[in-house]
């Protein structure tokens, strides 16, 4: 027992680091060898469907789907599905089929207010043997029996099962792709390299089946997809970030994030809305503000999250209320970090406006465990 306690936090630490590395906005450690990975540069035209697929020349890439579902008896559920691809920048000459050139990591989370708990599961594997891959050309990611595939008609098929929960969803786009920031070149900090290529697909219409305790339930709902890839990410002074993506009831969409500075303040912030007609409105660092309204302290990790948040984008005030407080992903026991990723409802200037997902990272100090 003693040994387990001693070593598990180490695994945790490793994956916290790895996770932050990829999903969150951490600076890259560039190895002694010159990297062959490409940098994100402005002015590149995203080409679809090619850019829906993987970009192997970049360090890190993810497909991130969040959404609200409703069961037949109108009970709400939140879900989060993520696939990461990570380039190790190693084994370039290695002919082995096991050569760990790319790692694939996936997260699945289900927020169920009926239980008040977040169920989640992580998997990781190296790319190879067709067991795990992120294909180029179109969205096609697989990790063992978990998969996210975009069909030629644009529909995404997600299939992720675990021993006691899972989902099998079909996501149909209802709107065009939403290129973030400068035509998909999304800045994450003051330095030129601190950026990613980033597009979203809001208002995906969802139908399918959710499994809870291995029992299937038919669901429908709305989802949001982010696809982002980069090599160098963020300023070293970054502490974590807050992100929200919301499908609004009037058919418009909101995406906003701020990157917090260690010791307070922000490194960078951004927001964009797109109305039903496709008109984009952008807000820069100065115009975006995240104001915590209420915090929730995780009984497990002692981390304190601003689960209710007010976001100001220019003149608009958005008020975010969580579907439930405990939407923390505490994955130290297996493969991942601790963060909060939860379904929220939004009010615009006090009026109910829609549903979305809020992500809060960097609030738990893993080293303090």
């Amino acid at each position: 027992m003693k040994q387990v306690e001693k070593t598990l936090p180490r695994f945790g630490r490793f994956f916290v680091a790895l996770f932050l590395f990829m999903a969150c906005l951490l600076t890259m450690q560039v190895g002694a060898e010159p990297s062959r990975l490409q940098q994100v540069v402005p002015g590149r035209q995203l080409v679809f469907p090619h850019d829906l697929g993987a970009h192997q020349d970049f360090r890190i890439e993810w497909w991130y789907i969040t959404g609200w579902l409703e069961t037949g008896d109108s009970k709400p559920l939140g879900f989060q599905v993520t696939f990461f691809r990570y380039a190790t920048d190693q084994h370039r000459e290695n002919p082995s089929r096991f050569a760990a050139k790319y790692l694939i990591i996936a997260h699945l989370a289900l927020s169920d207010p009926a239980t008040g708990k977040l169920r989640h599961m992580e998997k990781s594997a190296r790319e190879g043997f067709d067991l795990a891959y992120a294909r180029e050309g179109d969205t096609d990611v697989r990790l063992d029996d978990w998969s996210l595939v975009r069909e030629t008609d644009g529909r995404y098929q997600v299939d992720m099962q675990t021993n006691d929960f899972g989902l099998r969803l079909s996501l149909t786009p209802t709107q065009s792709v939403m290129l973030q920031d400068q035509d998909g070149f999304s800045r994450k900090g003051p330095e030129p390299g601190q950026a990613s290529y980033y597009y979203s697909e809001p208002h995906l219409s969802v139908s399918g089946t959710v499994f809870r305790n291995a029992k299937p339930v038919d669901v429908r709902g709305r989802a949001w997809l982010d696809h982002e890839w980069s090599t160098t990410y963020l300023a070293p002074e970054a502490d974590g970030w807050d992100w929200v993506g919301a499908n609004l009831d009037d058919g418009s969409a909101l995406m906003s994030f701020q990157i917090r500075r260690k010791g307070g303040g922000k490194v960078w912030a951004y927001a964009a809305t797109r109305d039903r007609s496709g008109k984009m409105t952008f807000f820069d660092t100065d115009q975006v503000e995240f104001i915590p309204l209420r915090t929730w302290k995780s009984p497990q990790t002692r981390a304190e999250y601003p689960v209710a948040m007010q976001i100001r984008t220019g003149e608009i005030k958005w008020e975010l209320t969580p579907l439930m407080d405990d939407q923390e992903l505490d994955a130290r026991q297996s493969t991942s970090a601790i963060y909060w990723e939860g379904a929220v409802t939004l009010k615009r200037n006090g009026e109910p406006a829609g549903k979305g997902y809020l992500e809060l990272t960097g609030y738990a100090d893993p080293l303090a465990l």
Binding site: T7, F14, A17, P95, L103
Partner: protein, 849 residues
């Protein structure tokens, strides 16, 4: 209540009066228990550590899939990973990689490197994960990072961030020590690498050693295993972790059991000593007991008293033995290692664990055998009629029942029958039982033999006038053979076992020596520092070596391991040129072989070691299937050869057949015979000058022979030690029984002194008695030991190690031991007798008690 007090008084007074004998008996029991217990402790510590270490390598998998030979194609991995019912498939490549500079120790110069996929292994064998430096987490996937267990770091004398050179085939690979494998077991020498990096750097692309499976919840393991085995076919074995344990257990089972048997022999000898101490004490106290009986002690009380005495001996002795055994085990593990220097369990560092159950078990064994040794004398004491026993001189009648030969003869007959038994559970149970019965029978027959021999001798002597002392000696030995025989029980037991072991070991050693000459005919043997199962010499290198000048004959060998039975250790397959006309020119054949002209046409011949016959039932003339090459091929068993090197089985085939079947043209070993004008040194120099010369492992056959014999001697060192202990206990027995007897005979000596027998004549008498008895004991012990050696050589060895050998008796050595024993027994007898003649002459004749 009062009877308890009486018991205690009697016991205490007896022990106080004869403390010497008590101490000797206690030492005997304690030594016996200590030997048995320490061997058990050492064996179980080593074995548990060994199997824990092998288990830690396979983690918590439900099933393992292996190939028939050491490696198989990695294409099985995705199939299994996708297999319905499989939750996790963990691919593993395990290589024993030679470490430059560690070559001097032939059995122990390789580092086990395990290639894993961190993400998969994490779910099955988390203990194997390397611990990278802070902030260097990606080292777990790095192409040059090697993680080492603490023992491996110590052995290699490297630390984190050092670089380490390894030899792979004919090349050198440099790796970076990226961190530790902190959860490796103490003493476990392993390295861990990324599997893709290991395949690439160690030139093992495309192969795996095993795939560990974790099944989904609710899957029936047995059914899944059966289905999977069927699905994968002959080329693979599906193993449960319990099979794996059995496999590990099988590797050392014969060794452990044989050592345990030897330890029990020490205990057994101790029992004889208890028996003789108790028996003599009964004789000495016949009149005491008779008096007590006359005073109203019941037979049962008397019996209880005797058994209680034995139990007290047993308890104290066993307790002492446990303490002593624990200490011996701790010291032995510390200084000799868990395999007592035999290298049976390499690369582990076991520690002794006290567990109550086994301690209790050995305590009970010690107690039980001691009580057992007390029962016969106790029964005799209880059975004696008090009136008869009260009369002086009636001691002669004591133990008269023991000299009935029928019991001994039944034992010997049963022993003879038991030798005919086949092995049980693959162990020579029948043989061991026969040895025990031979010993018991032999010892039981001893009084009869002694009586008969000395009676005959006395008859002869009566015709001539013989000196008084000699008459006294002969008369005593002829007419009181029981007491004489009791004194010799221990020495007989230990000497016969010593003879048996000596004959067995010498037969074995001579056979091995001969065998080594046969199997190492060339002058030089050249190997690559091979990693894994791939031959180290590609054809180009083979030609380079064959093309060097000065070589008369160059033979290429290809060897690899094969798994024929998942529960057994792997067998060795050798592919080499074999004399097509007569395999006896190449191999150390037994008499079982078939001449080439009688082989069936088209058949590929193989020659199997004796172990293959016993373990797998491969008989000469059979056609068998072996997983050589892509598909399992049919082979014809053309002969059986002796193999003292691999008790788990080995098969030889022609290199040309092997290459035809597998397409594998590489070889592991090159045997070189030199031309008359080329010296070994010149040849070595030429080999070293090749491009890959520095990475060759070159051995002279003489060195290899010497090394093999050294290993052999080392592995028998423990045996010698146990023998000496057994003889020591036996001598203690002689001392104990002689001192007991001389004390009992103090009146006799007093009278003799009165009527004019010189003091030194009494000592002569004792020496002669001791010497003659020991001589008979040695004679009988030799006969008995020779019989036991026959069992060891022709039953125990073939049944447990699966090899046969001719018998060689080390006459000179045995003679030497016999003389030493004879002298020490006589000295012991005289020493024990000193007390009896040291001046109590006057009192002696007045003493009636």
């Amino acid at each position: 209540m009062t009877s308890t007090i009486l018991s205690r008084w009697l016991l205490w007074s007896e022990w106080r009066a004869h403390w010497m004998q008590v101490i000797v008996a206690l030492i005997a029991i304690a030594t016996g228990v200590a030997m048995a217990y320490s061997i058990h402790l050492i064996n179980s510590a080593a074995f548990n550590e060994f199997s824990a270490a092998s288990k830690s390598l396979s983690g918590q998998s439900d099933l393992q899939v292996r190939g028939r030979s050491a490696f198989f194609d990695e294409s099985l991995y995705p199939k299994l990973a996708r297999h319905a019912g499989v939750a996790v498939a963990n691919p593993v490549l395990e290589l024993d990689v030679a470490v430059p500079g560690k070559r001097q120790n032939r059995n122990d110069h390789k580092l086990k490197i395990i290639g894993i996929d961190t993400f998969r292994a994490m779910q099955i064998a988390p203990d194997l994960l390397g611990m990278p430096a802070e902030g260097k987490n990606m080292d777990r996937f790095a192409e040059d990072a090697l993680f080492l267990s603490p023992a491996a770091m110590e052995w290699l004398q490297v630390e984190q961030d050092d670089s380490l050179q390894l030899h792979v085939g004919l090349e050198t690979v440099t790796l970076r020590v990226a961190g530790g494998v902190v959860r490796a077991r103490a003493g476990q020498r392993i390295g861990v690498m990324d599997i893709g990096a290991l395949q690439w750097r160690m030139q093992q692309l495309g192969v795996l050693s095993r795939i560990e499976l974790k099944l989904k919840e609710g899957i029936n393991h047995a059914a899944f295993k059966a289905d999977l085995s069927r699905e994968l076919g002959e080329a693979y074995v599906v193993v449960e972790s319990s099979d794996q344990e059995q496999r590990v257990a099988n590797m050392s089972r014969a060794y452990r059991i044989n050592l345990n048997m030897l330890a029990l022999v020490a205990l057994f000898t101790g029992v004889f000593l208890v028996f003789s101490t108790q028996a003599l004490s009964v004789i000495r106290r016949r009149q005491h007991f008779a008096l007590l009986r006359a005073l109203g002690w019941t037979r049962r009380q008397l019996l209880r008293q005797m058994i209680w005495e034995g139990a007290a001996f047993g308890m104290v002795g066993s307790l002492l033995g446990l303490v002593l055994g624990y200490a011996i085990a701790a010291l032995a593990i510390q200084f000799l290692g868990g395999d007592l220097g035999t290298n049976f369990f390499p690369g582990i560092k076991p520690s002794i664990h006290f567990d109550e159950v086994s301690a209790l078990l050995f305590f009970v064994i010690g107690l039980f055998v001691t009580v057992l040794g007390s029962i016969v004398p106790a029964l005799e004491a209880a059975r004696t009629k008090p009136a008869q026993a009260l009369r002086s001189g009636s001691e002669v009648m004591a133990l008269v029942k023991l000299s009935k030969p029928w019991f001994a003869l039944v034992c010997l007959l049963a022993a003879l029958l038991l030798t005919q038994l086949p092995p049980l559970f693959e162990l020579p149970i029948g043989g061991y039982l026969a040895i025990v019965l031979l010993l018991v029978g032999g010892i039981a027959l001893m009084p009869y033999c002694v009586g008969w021999l000395f009676n005959t001798l006395m008859m002869r002597c009566q015709r001539y006038s013989t000196p008084a002392i000699f008459t006294l000696v002969l008369a005593r030995l002829a007419n009181a053979p029981n007491q004489a025989a009791i004194a010799l029980g221990g020495i007989l037991a230990s000497f016969s076992l010593m003879v048996a072991m000596a004959i067995m070991v010498s037969s074995f050693r001579i056979s091995i020596d001969d065998w080594l000459v046969r199997v190492l005919p060339a002058d030089l043997y050249v190997r690559t520092i091979a990693s894994g199962d791939h031959g180290g010499f590609p054809p180009g290198a083979q030609q380079d070596i064959a093309g060097l000048p000065g070589f008369d004959r160059v033979d290429f060998f290809r060897s690899q391991t094969l798994t024929l039975d998942q529960r057994r250790p792997d067998i060795m397959l050798f592919a080499r040129p074999i004399d097509p006309v007569d395999a006896r020119n190449t191999l150390p054949m037994t008499d079982a072989w078939i001449a080439a002209e009688l082989w069936p046409q088209q058949a590929m011949p193989i020659w199997v070691s004796e172990a293959m016959v016993d373990l797998y039932g491969y008989h000469v003339g059979d056609t068998v299937e072996l997983p050589v090459g892509a598909a399992s091929g049919q082979f014809f068993v053309a002969g059986v050869w002796r193999d003292y090197g691999r008790q788990f089985g080995a098969v030889q085939m022609r290199l040309s057949d092997y290459q035809e079947l597998t397409g594998d043209l590489s070889v592991n070993t090159i045997a070189i015979g030199l031309q008359a004008n080329t010296t070994v040194d010149t040849a070595i120099e030429r080999l070293r000058q090749l491009a890959f010369g520095s990475r060759l492992e070159i051995s002279r056959s003489g060195d290899m022979r010497a090394l093999s014999l050294e290993i052999f001697d080392r592995s028998f060192a423990v045996t010698y030690l146990l023998e000496i202990v057994a003889v020591f206990i036996g001598l203690l027995g002689v001392a104990a029984s002689f001192s007991a007897q001389t004390l009992a005979r103090v009146r006799e000596f007093g009278m003799l002194r009165h009527i004019g027998v010189l003091r030194r004549q009494i000592l002569w008498l004792l020496a002669a008695e001791g010497g003659m008895l020991t001589a008979v004991g040695i004679l009988l012990g030799f006969v008995l030991g020779w019989s036991i050696s026959l069992i060891l050589v022709f039953i125990v060895n073939p049944q447990s190690f699966h090899w046969t050998m001719p018998l060689h008796v080390p006459w000179i050595w045995l003679l030497l031991i016999a003389i030493v024993l004879l002298i020490s027994a006589s000295i012991t007898a005289v020493w024990a007798g000193q007390r009896a003649v040291s001046g109590h002459v006057i009192r002696a004749v007045r003493e009636d008690w």
